[in-house]
Each structure stands twice: as C-alpha cells, then as structure tokens.
C-alpha cells in the first residue's frame, strides 16, 4: 500500500472496527475477536508508515477544504509517528487486558465500551497525523466526546459527577481557550499548517505571542498543567482499562503531544527562545511537577496516587519542551513513549489487584507481592521507570532532559527534576516495600493472581519498559528527527 493509503487505513480501521463491534455485540467472543483483529491491523498499518518516516519522508493526505484556506488534511511527521505507534501498540495490549478485566468484574454495557474504545483510537490517530491545527482540534474534541461514555461507564451518581468534571474541564478549556487561540493564530499568521520552525515568528508583538502561548498551554487541558488538572483524578471513577486509556494510550498523551506540537511547529523553538513572555512556562510546569508529587505522596488510594503521578509526569514533557533546546525536545518526545508504557503497567497492576483482591488503598497492600508475584514484579519495573532508574526506559528520557537542561545551564529545572525524582521514589517505593517485605494482614482472604489475560498484558508492558531501555533505536531515531526540527 502507498503511504497515503496507509494513512486512510489507519483512520478507517478503528472506525470500521467500531461498526463491527457494534454489529457483533450479541456474541462476546466474536466482538472481542473484532477488537483484537482491528487493533493488530491498525498497529501493522502504522508500522508500515515507519520506514518511510525514518527515512525522512512526510507522507501526506489531503481530504477536503474545511474552511477556505484550511484543509482537513494529514501529514505523518516523526512526532505524530511516535505517538501513533505508542497508541496503536498499547491498544492491542489494552484490549487483551480489557477482556480479562471486563469479564472478571462483570461490567455492564461491554459493547458500548469496546465501540467507544475503538472510536477513541480513531480520534487519537487523527490527532497524531493531523497536518494542521484545525484538523488536530477536530479530533481533539472528538476524543473528549467519545471518551465521555467510557468515563461515565457505570452511570451512577459518582460517574455522573466525574463525567461532568471531565467534560467541564476538557470542553471548557478547549472551547474557551484553545479555539480562540487557534482562530487568533489564523488571524495573525494566515495559516494553520504545522511547519518546522513555526508559523508565528515575527508575525505579532511579543505580548500577543505571550498571551497566545498561555491560551494554548492552558487550553490544551488534556496536558493537565495545573490548575487545569482536576479532571484527571475525577475521571478515576471509570473502570481501570479506561484509566489506562486516559493515562497511557490516548488522552493525556494527546495533550502533551499537542503541547510539543504547538511549541515546535506553531511557535517554533527559535521564536519562543527570544520571547521573554514565555519564561513563565517552565515555572508553571515545574510547580505542577512538585505539587502533584506532593499530593500523590499523601494519597492513600492507589489509583488516585497514580493519577497525580501522571499529572506530575506530564509536566516533565511540558517542562522539557519549554526548555527549548534540541536535547530536551528529544527528551520530551521520548518521555511521551516512556511514560506511556510505564504508566499503563502501573494501572494494569492496580486493576489486577482490584480484580483479584478487591483492594484499592495503598495501606491494604501489605504482603500482596507474595500472592501476586507477577503483577507486583511488573509494578516494580514500572516504578523503576517512573523514578528514572535503569534498566527502565524512564531513565533514557530523563537522561536527555537532564543533559539538555544542564547544557543550557537551566539549574532551576535541574533542581526540579532532582527533587521530583526523590518525591517519585518517596511515593512509589513504599508500595513495593509493603507488597514484598511486610507480612500480609491476618484477616485477608486468600487469593491468587488476576485472570490470565490481565497478567499477560501487564507483563508485556513491563517487558516493553525494559526492552525500550535496551533497544531504544527506532524511538530515539524518531525523537532525534523531531529534535532536529526544533
């Protein structure tokens, strides 16, 4: 297939998959078969685009002109390539996990769940491959809307409240801030195409650009920069596979992806470096990193602790991109992938613990590692990655960010990263300690591992966390291509 056909296939496959899932809803085995087949086929399609992009090609697809001068179009550049690879790859694993989780917990509305999941993947691929801001915005909004039924999956009062917060924050920021920013960009620059070096250079006064940057950074609510991070903990009411989708596969990744995209391709690193009005961004990101870590430290609920850890880790990406050096941009891009595989492992483990033992609080986990060695083993590997220790992939991204920050003599950033590493260790290490070294509580009911598909899925992602440390080749190549454009 030609690259353009592959782009079409990548977008159409999840949509067709959603239709297939809806039609086969009465036969669960067939339905899950459709999900898995679609996921594998999608990954294959995305993989098919990789050699070209690594070779420096930028496959394009023009669909139609949405507004005069603004196309609905797609262009696969290295950053989008990486995001699409991560999302489509993790969808396979997540589907396997979902099958185990949804069946073991006897969740209702499973067809709707798989349909919305497939639709959200279509939206994610759209975001990844979008060639301009409007196309990206279109799929960005679509992602919010199709994940809403997933977040409110249980349909009870708590889910409703969580859904309102989720929708309120995401639509509020995107319609209220991001859309005006995009329209203003159109009014100032006369184009919305993602262009290496940016489109806003010299087009407007520094104050206007500074204001615009603020609109973008807080308008992309999915990146969860404080104070627009509240939706992420609120969305914890959803079933665990959805949390994994939000935190690792699609939603927050779409947020930081959009942030990096805007910094590199809309403003341009060179333009921002000259812009005094952009200096606040590393500060806000740094504050988010530390503050979210502190909240995580004091959260006893495991999923809540993981959620705040995500808020903190996302700001690593924002901070790295905002430092505006090629090395940190490489680090930011790498961290999108690194955080994805590690965080999905953590959520999978949390879901497996809940399914097997019904436990949700950190303080209940004493000795659980002996009963669920595989799950907690994988969890420990992911924790290494989150802290940034070898031999996990988190080390690679943090290395690039630190190297870039030191090279640019941004000592505050270095200090923030160092401090947050300590905090990461402080809130993750006790979990591992409790699980393996504390004796189990006396009254605890006997239980073993979670169902096989779940354990298999989390072992795969844990293995990927290690594998990407040992063989970061293709990812790093993509990240370097992005860094070269910065």
């Amino acid at each position: 297939m030609s690259p353009a056909q592959l782009i079409v296939a990548s977008l159409a496959l999840p949509l067709a998959g959603a239709a297939g899932i809806a039609l086969s809803g009465r036969w669960p085995n067939l339905r899950e078969g459709v999900t898995l087949t679609t996921a594998v086929a999608l990954f294959a399609c995305v993989l098919g685009l990789l050699p070209g992009v690594l070779g420096g090609a930028l496959p394009q697809l023009f669909v139609l002109e949405m507004l005069p001068g603004i196309a609905l179009g797609f262009r696969v550049e290295p950053l989008g390539m990486l995001f699409a690879l991560v999302a489509s790859g993790l969808w396979i694993v997540n589907s396997i996990y979902s099958i185990g989780y949804m069946r073991a917990n006897e969740e209702p509305h499973q067809t709707r769940f798989y349909v919305c999941f497939a639709l959200s993947l279509a939206a994610t691929i759209g975001i990844a491959f979008a060639s301009n801001l409007l196309t990206m915005f279109l799929f960005y909004e679509a992602l919010t809307l199709v994940t809403y039924p997933l977040v409110t999956h249980h349909g009870d009062a708590e889910a409703r409240a969580g859904g309102r917060t989720y929708l309120g924050y995401l639509l509020g920021t995107s319609i209220g801030l991001l859309l005006p920013a995009i329209i203003a960009t159109w009014a100032i620059a006369g184009t919305l195409e993602f262009t290496p070096g940016g489109i806003l250079g010299g087009a407007a006064s520094n104050a206007a650009l500074g204001g615009l940057l603020a609109l973008y950074m807080f308008g992309i609510g999915k990146a969860a920069l404080m104070p627009v991070h509240r939706w992420l903990p609120a969305a914890m009411v959803a079933p665990t596979p959805v949390s994994a989708l939000l935190h690792a596969v699609a939603v927050v990744k779409a947020g930081v992806f959009a942030v990096v995209k805007v910094i590199v391709y809309v403003f341009g690193v060179g333009t921002l470096a000259k812009l005094r009005a952009a200096d606040w961004l590393p500060t806000v990101a740094g504050f988010t990193i530390i503050a979210a870590s502190v909240v995580a430290l004091y959260s006893d609920n495991l999923k809540r602790r993981l959620a705040y850890s995500t808020v903190s880790q996302l700001s690593y990406v924002v901070l790295a991109a905002a430092l505006l050096t090629p090395l940190t941009v490489v680090g930011a891009v790498m961290h999108i992938a690194a955080h994805a595989v590690s965080k999905i492992t953590l959520f999978f483990a949390a879901g497996a613990i809940y399914t097997a033992s019904g436990k949700t609080e950190v303080s209940q986990l004493d000795g659980i590692g002996r009963r669920m060695p595989w799950t907690l083993g994988a969890f420990s590997i992911a924790v290494l990655s989150m802290i940034g220790l070898p031999p996990a992939v988190g080390f690679v991204s943090k290395w690039y960010i630190l190297a870039g920050a030191v090279g640019a003599a941004r000592w505050t950033a270095v200090a923030v990263i160092a401090l947050s590493t300590l905090l990461n260790a402080a809130y993750f290490a006790p979990i591992v300690y409790r699980a393996f070294l504390r004796p189990p509580a006396q009254a605890a009911a006997a239980h073993g591992e979670a169902p096989v598909p779940m354990v298999a899925a989390l072992c795969v992602t844990a293995a990927a966390t290690l594998a990407l440390f040992l063989y970061p080749g293709p990812l790093l190549a993509l990240a370097r291509l992005v860094g070269r454009m910065a």
Partner: protein
C-alpha cells in the same frame, strides 16, 4: 421560457397549491400537492441560486411592469441562499408531517394543515424574493397569518393562547413595519427597495427617515424575536405541532433576520445605520443580553421543546451579534449561522416530534433512559446538540469560527471570549438531555423501546446528516455567505 419565469413560479406555485388543497378536502392528495409544491420551490430555488452564482443577480418584473412602478422580484446572492434554506426546510418537513400531523390532528382537519403550510411557505418565500417594500409587508402577513393558524393547531389548549399572543405581537410588529415603510414612502415617493436605497441618499431632511428606520427596526425585531421582543416565541414553539415548530424555528425568524439585513445594509446603508445612529452598538448590547439571558433561562427549563425554544432566542442573538460587527467576517458569520442554525434547530425539533409522539410530551422527565428506548432519535438529538454548541465537525462550529474570527479582527478580544464562554452554557443545557437519556435508568414514564415511524425519522436524520456534512464541507455555505456579505457591504458603501 419557464426558466425566465422561475422567480415568480417560486412563490406562485405554493400559493396556488394552497387553495387546491382546500378544494380537494382529502388528506392524502393534499399532502401530495403540498409535497410537490415544496419540492418544486426547492428545485427552483437551487436553480435560481446556481443562476445567480453564475450570472449575477436576477431582476424579474412582475407583469412586465418595470420597476420602480411595477413590483420587482430580485434574486441575489443573499436572497437565493435564504430561498434555498426556506424551501429546503419545507421539503424536508412535508414528508415528516405525513405521520406526525396525522397523529396530532383530527382526520378531517389534516388537509387544512397543508393549506396553511403552503400559504406560510409562499409568504416566507415571497418576503425573501420580493424587491418591493410594501409587497414584502403583504407576504409577511400571508406568512404570519398562516403561521398563527398553524400554531393554534397544537393539541394543548395553551397552543391557542400562544397563537393569540403571537397574533397580537406579530400584528403590532407588521404594523410597525408598514408605518416605517409609509414614512419612507412619504420621504422618497418610492417603494422599490433598490430605488429606495438610491433616493434615500439624496433626502435632505433625515428626521423622517430616522423615524422610519426606528419603526422598521422595532417591527422586524418583533418578528425575529430579538431580545426583549421575544416573549411570543417560547410559548408558540412549545405548543405548536412538532412539524410546525420545526419549520417555523428553522425559517420564520431567519427570514425576518434577512429583512433586517436587507434594510440596514441595502436600503439605509452603513453610514446612516452606524454613523448617524448607533444601531450596531444597540444590536450588540441586545444580542449579548439575549445570548446570556436566554441561555440561562434555557438551562432551567423542564420541557425539551421549551428549552430549545429559549436556545433559539440565544442563537438569534449570535446572528444579530455578527450583524452588529458590520464587517465582512461578521456578516459572513451572521449569514452562515442563519443557515446552520436553521438546519440544526430543524433537526432538533423534528427529532423531538418523534419523542412527543412516543412519549406523549417532551418533558425532561419523559426521556430517562431514552438512549436505549429510542437510540437513533437520541443519537440524533446529541449530534444536533453538538452542532448547537459548535463542536468542530458540525455546522455550528463553522458559524462560531467566523463569529470569533470577526470579533478578533475587530480587535474585540472580550467579545471573542464572550462568544466561546456562552457556548459553554449550551454545553450545559444540551448535557441535561444527555444525562437524562444515557445516564438515567428508564422509568414508567419512558416510552416503550421503539423508534418513531420511519417517515419521521428519515427527514430528521437527513437534517442531522446535513449538520455534520456542512461542518466538514463548507464550500457551499461559506462561499454563499461570503458573497452575501460582500453584496451587503458593497451596497452599503
């Protein structure tokens, strides 16, 4: 030969169809006649629009009397666009009415519905196409009188009182309009709109002209339900039969907006309207108040038809807001929203008609768990609701885009912020339906599972599809609106 008389036939065919349906007195043939007349008007409107796009404005002299003495029918970029909207909505509504009206009216009255429907259509099309200010009044009254009857056909007794209220306010509005025209006639001695514009430039004593402007503004504003002259609208929309609500919501107020645009930009001219008088500022304030207050009131309604009726008042505010910016982007936004809001509201009210048919009424307490009982209807309402909010990929987004762009181009950042902020109120009221339909368990008031009849569902979904289609392919709507805006501003200079 026929082609040359298309502008006249556009109006005359539905006008003749009306008495024909009375003569036949049976519902099925009456329906067929109405459907044929509406389809003819739609095709004619499309042909006229194509002709205008290719060769410029058409001027048709009724009875071959040359203007300004004879009545002129004038089709240009703007009126052609409105003609397409009005006749298109009628063509979608008539097939829908087949089942919907049969369920809501006694059998022996059904043919009279089609009589009134054809008259109403003729009135609205006539208002749009005519180039004569007094002729416009006559068509306005044809359209209004028939719409009073249409509204009074509602099953609820409150429909009659709503219709009476609308009759009083509508007549006052039309009379104000005709007073304004009378004053202009005294000042210039002409009734032809193009001629009026010419001669007004040479009028020395401006005071009567300004009085005429004031009368016309108030009169037309009553008709288009500009805040605070909107009081007739919520009741009329709530209690009218479903097909009537959908048709009127999509067309009647829009045609009045068209009349206001015509008079402000083509007749009085930008200088008189914005320099001599502060009309843009007044419109701006009224629009802002309309958007905020009507959206907030909509938020607290317990009946869906009423909720979306108030939302209409707010959306009309967006249209007049674009007008008040008096820039190219602003007018483009205004005209494109006129169309996009027409199809969006049309879709919503048609779908609600299905809900009313299955659930008896459209209270929010009747739609608990509707997502499972009527999946297609619910999904349609959600999609049209998204268009109302202005989510990208829907028609409403295109309008919002131009509105915000116009505000930014005018340097009014606060206004851009206002527009996007108020879209969020729309999220809140649309989400009341979403939560009721999808996140609540069905109870005894929820209708039994089963969709509305296909004859109702199909037209409604056609409009829902149009909401999505015109969100992606904007080449027709935006291009037409852009040319209309150029025309209005060109005439204004």
């Amino acid at each position: 030969m026929t082609f040359a008389h298309l502008p006249a036939l556009e109006v005359v065919v539905p006008l003749i169809a009306a008495p024909l349906t009375v003569l036949i007195r049976r519902s099925a043939p009456a329906w067929a006649i109405a459907a044929a007349a509406c389809s003819f008007s739609f095709v004619a409107a499309l042909l006229l629009a194509a002709e205008v796009a290719a060769h410029g404005p058409i001027s048709y002299h009724l009875g071959s009397w040359a203007p300004p003495w004879g009545i002129e029918y004038r089709v240009d970029a703007l009126s052609a666009f409105v003609l397409v909207l009005v006749s298109g909505m009628a063509t979608v509504t008539v097939p829908y009415a087949w089942r919907s009206i049969a369920a809501e009216l006694p059998r022996d009255q059904v043919y009279l519905f089609y009589t009134m429907f054809c008259l109403c259509l003729a009135g609205l099309l006539g208002m749009t196409i005519t180039g004569d200010a007094f002729n416009l009044f006559v068509f306005m009254e044809i359209g209004s009188l028939s719409s009073y009857v249409l509204i009074a056909l509602g099953r609820d007794r409150r429909a009659q009182y709503a219709s009476y209220q609308y009759l009083v306010l509508g007549t006052i509005g039309a009379t104000f309009y005709v007073i304004g025209i009378g004053i202009l006639y005294l000042a210039t001695g002409t009734l032809n709109i193009a001629d009026l514009a010419q001669r007004l430039q040479h009028v020395e004593n401006l005071r009567p002209v300004l009085a005429g402007l004031a009368f016309i503004t108030v009169g037309v504003s009553l008709k288009l339900a500009l805040y605070p002259l909107h009081l007739w609208l919520p009741n009329a929309y709530t209690y009218a039969p479903s097909a009537v609500t959908a048709f009127l919501a999509a067309t009647a107020t829009k045609v009045s907006v068209y009349v206001l645009l015509r008079f402000y930009f083509s007749v009085f001219g930008l200088h008189l309207v914005s320099v001599t008088l502060p009309m843009p500022e007044i419109l701006l304030v009224l629009s802002i108040v309309a958007i905020v207050s009507a959206s907030l009131v909509a938020l607290y309604q317990t009946d869906l038809k009423r909720l979306f009726a108030y939302s209409s008042v707010a959306q009309i505010g967006y249209i007049t807001l674009g007008m008040s910016l008096t820039s190219r982007a602003g007018l483009t936004a205004s005209v494109v929203h006129l169309f996009n809001h027409g199809i969006t509201k049309g879709a919503l009210f048609l779908l609600l008609g299905g809900v009313a048919l299955r659930a008896g009424r459209t209270g929010l307490d009747r739609v608990h768990g509707l997502g499972r009982a009527m999946p297609l209807t619910s999904l349609g309402i959600v999609i049209a609701g998204l268009s109302l909010i202005g989510v990208p990929g829907t028609a409403g987004f295109v309008s919002k885009w131009y509105l915000v762009l116009a505000a930014i181009e005018a340097g009014r950042w606060w206004l851009a912020a206002f527009v996007v902020a108020t879209s969020l109120i729309a999220v809140a009221y649309v989400w009341r339906f979403v939560e009721a339909a999808y996140l609540s368990e069905p109870d005894e008031r929820t209708p039994e599972p089963g969709e509305a009849p296909l004859a109702m569902l199909l037209p409604a979904w056609l409009l829902v599809a149009a909401c999505v289609y015109f969100g992606f392919d904007t080449s027709y709507t935006v291009e037409a609106a852009r040319r209309a805006a150029l025309l209005l501003l060109g005439a204004a200079q």
